[in-house]
Structure formats: structure tokens, C-alpha cells
């Protein structure tokens, strides 16, 4: 029987027999990121969250591409593959669609996912393969020592752009929404609590979940997200999205997001008793991605002021792996289990007798 859409696909993955701890998910490999790298925090958050998920760790697979973040699988005591540049979503798609009893995670970076692997990312999203994609965005190429990336701000001075980069950056959340993603979230490496909550929601989602993680590269792009991390500045810069809650922020929670009745676009206003009822209530499950997209455009790409974090969109949509499995079942129902002898003979044979 084809499953109903609302069943969690997690039930297909065997549960751990005993209670797990963070230690169970640490591999014996020495972690080799630069001291102070934001990747450590993400690794700790993921290792810390996994016991809560409670899946048999042999049924968890981390697949990565190439880049600093793509070393991630080596440090997880699960199955893992460190593949080639940009191709992790494609490889993970083959694994996830052939093994629905696995929880498949993709770890990628802004260069890996959005530059060399852009095609695979958007197609995984539109297909809605059951993958959890963690996109570490540090807005720089770290492993090749500091060239600008497809998320770097225009005019970025780097080794390959001494007079400033020329190309406009991608906004990964906007891109994912445009690619029909069913789950899109953004979080920050240093906010363990928020990161964990986003991981929780992503892991429960059926289909592709894209989680953009703002991650600091303290060597080549240090402080890129400082405005979102510094306690005082963050109050003005960060907009925390919570499903069902009015979208408000600011030191005194004095700011809010409203829809401009003339254009339909979103804008930030100072909340007053008159306009309070117009403050947008966040709906991550909205049928259309329109408002989620508008939210993704609120941030200033240069200063990062008014950057929403949290789950932008989380909707139920048919999952590719489920549909593929259903077709196999339907084919057996219709034609019976394949009989090789019959297949090889076909309908048009003749016999030669000696």
C-alpha cells in the first residue's frame, strides 16, 4: 500500500536498540579543521543531536563533496562517503532512492553546492528526494585558500579578485525556494540551540530539507556573520522566524514585518498599536512559497541586516523515493513479479529442432 503523505518516512529507518550518547557519533579520526573554524560547532551540534534522533547509527549515512565542510563525514561514526566536488546530492540521491531504510545526510559548502554542484542541488530539491542537506555557507573558498565564492558580496577583494569580485551572489534560501524546495531553513553555527532545533525539524521532514548554516571561516573570511552573532547587533540584525508567531525583532521587539498593500512585498516597520494587527504571522506551511521568498529577500546582502533565520518553508509534497518505490510495487501488482525466462523469450520465438 502506498503510504499516505503525512506518515513520517523516519519510520522506515531502524531505531537504535540502546540509548545513544554524543560519544557514539564521534569517529576515531582526529578533526583537522583550522582551530577556531565554525565547522567544529556544527559538528558538535550534529553529534549532539543524533542521539535524540535515536536511529540505528549503521543506518545513517553522511555524503559530502569537496571543500572544508566536506571532511565532515570522516568525523561521524556512521557510514559516510567523501565524494567529488559538487556531486554529493547526485550520489546521495542514488543511495536514498535505493535504500529507504537509511537516513541520508548531505554536507556541502557554498562553493560545492552552489557553484560546481549547482545543477545537482536544484534537481535534488525539485525532485524532493529524502535527503537532509546541510549547506555550510562561509561566503568564501577556504580549502583553495581564499577565493570569492558564489555567495560572496559584490566587490569582494580576494586573491582571484584583487580589484573586487564582479558577480552578484546567490541567496541560497531564495535559490532553494525557486527550485521548489519543500523545506528551507537558515541557522548560524554559533547558536547551538537554534541550530539543533532546525536540525530537529529538518530530520522530521519528508523529502529534501535544505539547511543553510552561516559558518565562520576565521582564516579567510573572519567575522562574515559577526553582525548576526554579536549580542547587541544581533537584536537589530536577526529576525527569528517561528511558525505561528508574529515576525518581530529588535532590542525592544519594536520592529515587525508587514506586507505592503500596494506592492505585496514585505517591509520592516516600527510596531505601533495601529499597525500591530498587520504584523505578518509566520506560516512555514503556506501553500505557496511567495511569502517565504519575500522573507528571504529581506536581508541586506552587504550588511546582513534584517536576516531571517529559522524555518522559512516546510510543506508536504510527494517524495521522489516514495513515488519510485510505489511504482515498483504497482508494477508487481499489475504484472506479477518479473519472470526472467519469460522476459528473455518474449512473444515472438521459433524453435529449431536438431
Amino acid at each position: 500500500m502506498p503510504e499516505s503523505r503525512s506518515d513520517s518516512l523516519l519510520h522506515l529507518v531502524p531505531k537504535a536498540e540502546a540509548e545513544q550518547s554524543m560519544k557514539d557519533f564521534k569517529s576515531d579520526q582526529e578533526v583537522r579543521w583550522c582551530p577556531g573554524c565554525g565547522d567544529y560547532a556544527v559538528l558538535a551540534a550534529v553529534q549532539g543531536f543524533m542521539p535524540e534522533l535515536g536511529l540505528a547509527k549503521e543506518n545513517i549515512v553522511f555524503v559530502s563533496g569537496i571543500g572544508c565542510s566536506s571532511r565532515f563525514p570522516y568525523y561521524m561514526n556512521t557510514y559516510g562517503m567523501h565524494s567529488i566536488h559538487g556531486r554529493a546530492p547526485a550520489i546521495a540521491t542514488g543511495l536514498a532512492t535505493s535504500r529507504r531504510d537509511l537516513s541520508v545526510w548531505v554536507v556541502t559548502g557554498d562553493g560545492d553546492a552552489l557553484s560546481i554542484g549547482g545543477n545537482h542541488l536544484i534537481h535534488a530539491l525539485r525532485r524532493n528526494v529524502n535527503l537532509k542537506i546541510l549547506l555550510f555557507n562561509n561566503r568564501i573558498y577556504g580549502l583553495t585558500k581564499g577565493q570569492y565564492s558564489p555567495t560572496s558580496e559584490v566587490g569582494k577583494i580576494t586573491k582571484s579578485t584583487p580589484m573586487g569580485s564582479l558577480d552578484a551572489p546567490f541567496n541560497p534560501v531564495s535559490l532553494a525556494l525557486g527550485a521548489e524546495a519543500s523545506f528551507v531553513a537558515r541557522t548560524v553555527d554559533s547558536d547551538r540551540k537554534h541550530l539543533t532545533e532546525v536540525l530537529r525539524q529538518a530530520s522530521e521532514h519528508n523529502g529534501t530539507a535544505l539547511v543553510e548554516i552561516y559558518q565562520n571561516c576565521n582564516i579567510f573570511n573572519d567575522g562574515a556573520f559577526e553582525v548576526l552573532k554579536d549580542k547587541d547587533q544581533a537584536k537589530e540584525a536577526v529576525i527569528r522566524l517561528t511558525h505561528g508567531q508574529p515576525i518581530r525583532f529588535g532590542a525592544e521587539n519594536e520592529k515587525g514585518v508587514v506586507r505592503d498593500p500596494a506592492t505585496g512585498d514585505l517591509q520592516v516597520v516600527t510596531v505601533t498599536p495601529e499597525n500591530e494587527s498587520r504584523i505578518l504571522v509566520h506560516d512555514a506551511h503556506a501553500a505557496t512559497p511567495t511569502t517565504a521568498f519575500a522573507l528571504s529577500r529581506l536581508a541586506d546582502p552587504d550588511t546582513l541586516h534584517q536576516t531571517p533565520i529559522g524555518v522559512f518553508r516546510s510543506v508536504d509534497r510527494p517524495v521522489y523515493d516514495t513515488l519510485m518505490a510505489d511504482q515498483l510495487e504497482t508494477a508487481v501488482e499489475r504484472h506479477g513479479k518479473g519472470d526472467l525466462g519469460q522476459l528473455l523469450a518474449g512473444n515472438d520465438t521459433w524453435t529449431v529442432v536438431g
Binding site: 567523501h82 543511495l95 508494477a331
Partner: protein, 645 residues
């Protein structure tokens, strides 16, 4: 004197006169001649349905029990401009009462549906050949379009041929006038009229085609009946018209075939079935990751029909994702395959290198076509051999297996799967456009006869550390095969990480150690070099001084050329490679036995390059890259030159 070629030497054999066998329509008795083989070519516009016509004639011929070989030849454009030379599509069929090896060099009979088809094909028809032309299409404008200033039907340029002018379109419209179809719809059946006429000429069974038409147009019964009517009208036209005074019989090739059940099969179909069979024999699910590309797409189409065998087909966003998904599925324990052609292989190269490093089983099916770049998508070539051998960064050896005939694609697929699963390696299966689309009779194998391809997944620790701890080492090898364990996710206790960075021997952990890298590079090479492949067999009944060595789809033309040479008393030895990497262990010794070695290839000498480099043998190269298979007669002449040199 009939023009129909009979014996392979070329002289005509006129059979005894016999009365025609019972047919649906008994007419006046006409002369029936017996032939031992015939080559027919149907040619028309790419929209005229020539491939379908050829396919149907082939099916009739197969079910009649002749041996046969086919050569479809069509443009890359789906509907090239009508009536032009580049838009001509043709289908050649060779059938005989004995075993044959090729679709034939030159047609005895050409069916030309329009002036372009005549012009494009007349050069291949020997003088005295029969030409059936659709005179309705020979209007001034249509002739001018292909450069006929005067009508070739009237200006004497076809005097040397036996021309049957038939107003095929008019006759078809006439036959279908009761059906109330539009002129355009009715005209479309003219290929079935032509098929009916040829079926009469060669005493082909007709039930199969009528059943086929009724099935194909099951949703449009009036179209089905119109096609059947056109088909019958063509048959009756042959039976009653004086222009067709003679019909021909080609007896079933009973002695050519060992006892068994037979069917006709094309290379791509045989290859698809080979993959389904390999998965069953390995007791693994089949996973295909692929991106559409000519001439490989038919394998994707075919496999996507067999979901009830547990076959998963994934049409990816590009070639890279196609092989990426396949590799992911291989990691998960599927028999994983990607199918493509030369340009696709170029895109997949990096992932093939990853598969070499990960040491996972993976089949890369390359249906070669003319290159470089987009090249000739619908024409055949063997020019991807060196790409398959060497087209990757670093030392990345990959076994290469090549089928020799359309039906052999089945066995070659099973063999490629055996190597991939036994040695945990990507394997190239190099077919080509000629094998893919060509067809021949195939003895349907008994499923019980198929090889056992079962392999074992790792289930527990395979290594004991100095302190006595039992651990799993993903790169601890089988001492015999040097294969590493295949530990699939979901197996408790064997959690491990693999990747494209150099790994430490045994543990599989990242290692930049120079000595370890040297060891791993040499070990990966040794694993491939040590793959067990059968010795090459040499066919040398006369103790020849010259050996002709081939690989892949040249088997048919080479064998036909060898037969010609031997018939004329010239000794020549023949050997044909299925395994290009590694070569059979005895190949060097075989080559050194002969004074001369000649290697015909549809490239500029790629196997010759490999053989010369590896065995220091002065192999001569005979090459052709015109997008078409070798012609037996020309090849025989070239081989003769080498023998006589």
C-alpha cells in the same frame, strides 16, 4: 538472369522452378526461384517509416527461421527536411538459409520511396540489382531538390538495373479509398504497401505483421485496418502484376542453428536483458542512473519497463548525476549501472575515478558513436577504447569488456557484472551504434544455465588489532582477488567512511604517506591486471602466417572477410578480443606465433596502439571511420594485401 546474389562468391544460383506455396490469395502461378541469401535495403524519408518497415520484415524473416543481420541507418535529426539527401533513412537486412555474419555489403534489392532515397543509395547497388521505386514521388520539384535535372527513371541512367516502377502512393490511396481517411493519413500507409510487396516477393509469413499492426493501433482500429489493407494490397499487387514475374524463396537456416528456442534481438535489447539477468543472478536490485543520449537511450527505455523485476531507473539531470546516482546505489548494495555514449563518458570521467578509488562495483555502458565531440550521434565507431582505458586523472585502471554481435551483448553484460562484483571495480562495457541497433537471431538461454553471480557483503569484523580488538577494515583485501569488502550501510558495527582522497592500506583512513600511495596505486593496478579472463581462442585451420585480430563489433565483418579469403584458398588466422583490459594472459604468446598481425578497427588504430605498446609486436592497423561497419569484401581485399605483402 536474375540479379539476386546467391552464393557468397557472388554467382547466381537459380533454383528449380516450383509452384508458390499457399498464400492468402491464390493467383496465377508465377515462377519461384530459390536463393541462399538476399540483401534488401528499404530507403525513404525519415518520416516514411522505413525503420518500422525494416523491423517488420526482420520479424517476419526471423519467425520464418532464416539467419539474419540488420543495419538501420538514419539521420540524427528527428525529421530532417523532407525529400533531401540528409533526410534519408534506410534499413538494410541480410537473410539467408545458412549462418551469416553481417548485414551485407551491397543490397540486391533497393526499395526507394523518393528521389532522395534513390540518389543516396544507388551507389551501393551493384549493376543488375533490383530497384523498386515509388514513381509518385518523382515529380520535377522533388527530383530537382536532390539534383536530378532529368528523371533517372526515364533518362537511361538506371539501364543497368532491373527497375520496377510502382506508383506506391497512388496504389495505397486507391486501396484505402473506402476507409474515409484523409489523403495525408492514407498516404502514411504506403510503407505497409511496400512491405506487403516485398513480403510477397520473398514468401514472408504475414500473420505477425497483421497482429502487430492491430496491436500498435489498438486505440485507432480504423488506422490499424487501413494499414492491414495496404499491406495486403502490396502483397496482391506482387501476385497479380506482370512486372513482378518472379518471387524468391530463401529456406530457413535450419542447419545454421543448434537446437533451441530462438528470437530476434537487437544489441541494446540484449544488453538490457543481460543487466536484468545479471541482477537476478547476483541476487541484487538493479539500479540504472542515466541521462538520455543516442544511441544508448533505448537501454534506459527498456529497463524502465521492468520495474516488476525490482529495477530502478533514474533519469538524472545530467551525465554526471547519472553515474553519481549509480555510484550511490552501489554504495548501498545495488548492482549499479550507468549507460551513455562517448560524450557522456567524458563527463563521467571524474566519477569513474572516484569509483576506482572507492573500489565499488559499477557498470559503465558506453554505446560508442562517431566522435569527437557530438560527432555522428547515429553512426557507429570504436573510438572510445583509449578513453575507456585511460580517460581519467591519475592511475585509474578500469576493466574493459566488449561484445562482438548484437546477441552477444547479453553475455558481455553478464561478464562485465561478474568482473565488477568479484573485483569490486567499475567496469566498462563497450558496445557501439552498429551492435545497439542491429539485430540477429538469438538462442534464448535457459535461465538455469546462467552463471551464478552472487557475492557476499561484509557482515562483521575482518581484522584483529595488536591489543586483540576485533575491527572492520574497509580496505583489507581478499588475498586472491585483491577485492576489498563490500560493507553496505545498515550493517551494524561496520560503520566506515570512504572517499576519493588516498586511503591508508587496510584501515581506509586518509593517508598522504608517500610509500602508502605508491603501494595503493600499484595494488589497484595489480587487482585489475589479475582479473581472471579466458584465454583468447585462435581460429587457424590452415596454419596461417597472418593473424587478424579484432575486438567488438568488427567480429561479423572480419569473420565474413576471413571466410572469403579461406574460400579462395588463402590461409588466415583469426582471433577476437572480448577483454581489452586486462588482455587474455595468452595474447602475447599468440601474437608472437604469427609473422604478421593485422588489426581492423573503426578508429585510427587504438587497439593496435595498445598491442604494439604492450607486446612489442609490429601489428598493422587497418582502419575505417566513416560511421559505418566494415564491408566484408573490402575488408577481405585489405587482409589479402597484408597476406600478400
Amino acid at each position: 538472369m536474375t540479379s539476386q546474389v546467391s552464393s557468397e562468391a557472388g554467382e547466381a544460383l537459380v533454383g528449380e522452378q516450383r509452384s508458390a506455396p499457399a498464400t492468402p490469395h491464390h493467383g496465377t502461378e508465377k515462377e519461384v526461384r530459390r536463393l541462399d541469401r538476399v540483401i534488401i535495403r528499404f530507403a525513404g524519408d525519415s518520416g516514411d517509416g522505413m525503420q518500422l518497415t525494416g523491423d517488420r520484415f526482420t520479424s517476419e524473416t526471423a519467425s520464418f527461421g532464416n539467419d539474419l543481420s540488420t543495419l538501420p541507418n538514419f539521420p540524427a535529426e528527428i525529421r530532417a527536411p523532407a525529400g533531401t539527401l540528409p533526410g534519408v533513412s534506410s534499413f538494410q537486412l541480410h537473410f539467408a538459409d545458412h549462418d551469416i555474419l553481417t548485414p551485407g555489403d551491397a543490397p540486391n534489392v533497393l526499395v526507394a520511396m523518393n528521389p532522395a532515397a534513390l540518389k543516396a543509395n544507388i551507389g551501393d547497388v551493384p549493376r543488375g540489382g533490383e530497384i523498386i521505386v515509388n514513381t509518385d514521388e518523382f515529380a520535377k520539384r522533388a527530383m530537382a531538390k536532390v539534383g536530378y535535372a532529368t528523371s533517372p527513371l526515364e533518362d537511361g541512367s538506371l539501364d543497368g538495373y532491373r527497375v520496377h516502377p510502382v506508383p506506391l502512393t497512388t496504389l495505397t490511396l486507391e486501396a484505402l479509398k473506402e476507409f474515409g481517411l484523409s489523403r495525408k493519413e492514407a498516404e502514411r500507409s504506403k510503407n505497409m504497401f511496400a512491405l506487403g510487396l516485398l513480403s510477397w516477393m520473398y514468401h514472408r509469413p504475414t500473420e505477425g505483421t497483421e497482429t502487430f499492426l492491430r496491436q500498435k493501433f489498438a486505440k485507432k482500429p480504423e488506422i490499424a485496418e487501413a494499414n492491414v489493407a495496404a499491406f495486403r494490397a502490396g502483397w496482391n499487387f506482387g501476385e497479380t502484376t506482370e512486372d513482378f514475374a518472379v518471387s524468391y524463396e530463401v529456406a530457413p537456416a535450419t542447419r545454421a542453428f543448434p537446437t533451441g528456442t530462438y528470437r530476434n534481438i537487437s544489441g541494446n535489447l540484449a544488453l538490457s536483458y543481460g543487466l536484468v539477468a545479471a541482477a537476478r543472478q547476483a541476487d541484487l536490485p538493479l539500479y540504472l542512473g542515466s541521462y538520455p543520449i543516442t544511441p544508448a537511450s533505448d537501454i534506459l527505455h527498456e529497463l524502465s519497463k521492468h520495474k516488476n523485476f525490482g529495477v530502478r531507473t533514474f533519469q538524472a539531470e545530467d551525465e554526471i548525476a547519472g553515474i553519481g546516482a549509480a555510484l550511490g546505489a552501489a554504495f548501498g548494495g545495488s548492482l549499479a549501472v550507468t549507460t551513455t555514449s562517448g560524450p557522456g563518458v567524458a563527463l563521467k570521467s571524474e566519477t569513474i575515478g572516484l569509483a576506482v578509488s572507492l573500489e565499488l562495483p559499477l557498470l559503465i555502458v558506453d554505446i560508442q558513436r562517431g566522435g569527437p565531440s557530438t560527432g555522428l550521434p547515429t553512426k557507429t565507431e570504436q573510438a572510445d577504447l583509449l578513453q575507456a582505458m585511460y580517460g581519467r586523472n591519475g592511475e585509474a585502471p578500469v576493466p574493459v569488456v566488449a561484445p562482438r554481435t548484437p546477441a552477444d551483448c547479453f553475455d558481455a553484460a553478464l561478464d562485465a557484472a561478474r568482473i565488477a562484483l568479484t573485483y569490486r571495480t567499475p567496469v566498462f562495457l563497450l558496445s557501439d551504434g552498429y551492435l545497439a541497433n542491429g539485430s540477429e537471431p538469438w538462442r534464448v538461454p535457459d535461465v538455469e544455465e546462467l552463471p551464478d553471480l552472487r557475492t557476499l557483503f561484509a557482515t562483521g569484523p575482518n581484522h584483529t588489532l595488536a591489543d586483540g580488538t576485533e575491527v572492520f577494515w574497509p580496505y583489507k583485501r581478499d588475498p586472491e582477488t585483491l577485492a576489498r569488502p563490500w560493507a553496505v550501510p545498515g550493517t551494524p558495527g561496520l560503520e566506515h567512511r570512504i572517499g576519493g582522497i588516498e586511503k591508508q592500506d587496510g584501515t581506509g583512513n586518509i593517508s598522504y604517506d608517500p610509500a602508502n600511495h605508491e603501494f595503493m596505486v600499484r595494488t589497484r593496478q595489480a587487482k585489475i591486471d589479475g582479473i581472471e579472463v579466458p584465454d583468447i581462442e585462435v581460429d587457424d585451420p590452415d596454419g596461417a602466417g597472418t593473424l587478424v585480430l579484432g575486438w567488438g563489433s568488427t567480429y561479423g565483418p572480419i569473420t565474413a572477410a576471413v571466410r572469403r579469403i579461406r574460400r579462395e584458398g588463402g590461409p588466415i588466422a583469426q582471433a577476437h578480443l572480448r577483454h581489452l583490459n586486462p588482455f587474455p594472459k595468452n595474447l602475447g604468446e599468440v601474437l608472437k606465433r604469427y609473422e604478421k598481425v593485422v588489426i581492423p578497427e573503426m578508429n585510427l588504430g587504438q587497439l593496435a596502439t595498445l598491442v604494439r605498446a604492450k607486446y612489442l609486436v609490429d601489428a598493422r592497423s587497418h582502419t575505417q571511420v566513416n560511421g559505418m561497419p566494415f564491408k566484408a569484401e573490402q575488408l577481405a581485399a585489405a587482409l589479402k594485401e597484408v597476406i600478400d605483402a
